[in-house]
């Protein structure tokens, strides 16, 4: 969950609407960033490594990374192919390649400061 320190002393509907818009924009931008970083991490950890002689890469895992927004304050990024979890978590016979965990950690480090900027822009 992101936290932001923005102080307001005007409790009018306009202010509430501006804060909600700022949060919504932040959710959309951050979700899109996580999706982009997930694909970058997949490329780095999987597709840019030497190919195995025992199976052919199709790119289906990368193509299955999508995002959607169940509500104004939620964004979800998924890799929808059924073997995505095995690539991400690995097995004792294959090392983990946590493309999504890396993406979230990268974006998380910048997301908090960006939230209060988005809210302040809407309040102006």
């Amino acid at each position: 969950m992101a936290r932001s320190n923005v102080t307001v002393d005007d409790y009018s509907p306009r202010v509430y609407a501006s804060i909600a818009t700022g949060i919504n924009k932040w959710v959309r931008d951050t979700t899109a960033q996580v999706e982009l970083e997930t694909v970058k991490e997949l490329n780095r950890l999987v597709y840019d490594t030497p190919e195995s002689p025992t199976y052919k890469r199709t790119g289906n895992l990368r193509k299955s990374v999508t995002k959607h927004y169940p509500s104004e304050t939620e964004g979800i990024v998924q890799a929808q192919i059924d073997y995505a979890i095995y690539v991400h978590e690995g097995t004792p016979h294959m090392p983990p390649r946590p493309y999504m965990r890396n993406a979230v950690e990268k974006v998380k480090r910048e997301a908090g400061t960006d939230l209060h900027r988005k809210i302040e822009m809407e309040l102006r």
Binding site: G90, T91, P96, P98, E105
Partner: protein
Amino acid sequence: MATTTAIAAAFQHAFTQLDDLECPVYANVVPEGGSYPCVVVQAYGDAFDTTAVGGQRVKTNVDLMVRVAQQGNDIAGVMPLLVSLDEALHQSGPATYTAGDVDSVIRQREVFEPTVSSGKSWLFAGGVYRFFVS
């Protein structure tokens, strides 16, 4: 200043702590001909640095996936090994190694993954452990 080889230090600590386990401990993957049950220690993603003003590296958080691998579905049979593994790693440290100093270790989450592969049942269970390395 924190070490440049934090992941290596975390592996050194994991192998030192797991040395008394009654099964083989492997790094990265179970080798061909490896025996079961065994423990596999794998790096889980990038290790993120905490840096101070001026760019001085203070510490690095290293996540390792440490799992027991066993053929079959015998959960009860693998339980003593799981308990020993967690007792050896969780809240262990501080310790000094050639690759760096491990300040402490905390389990981030438990993992439990029964699966079927090539017609055989497997059980992979353990946890993701965060090593704080300086």
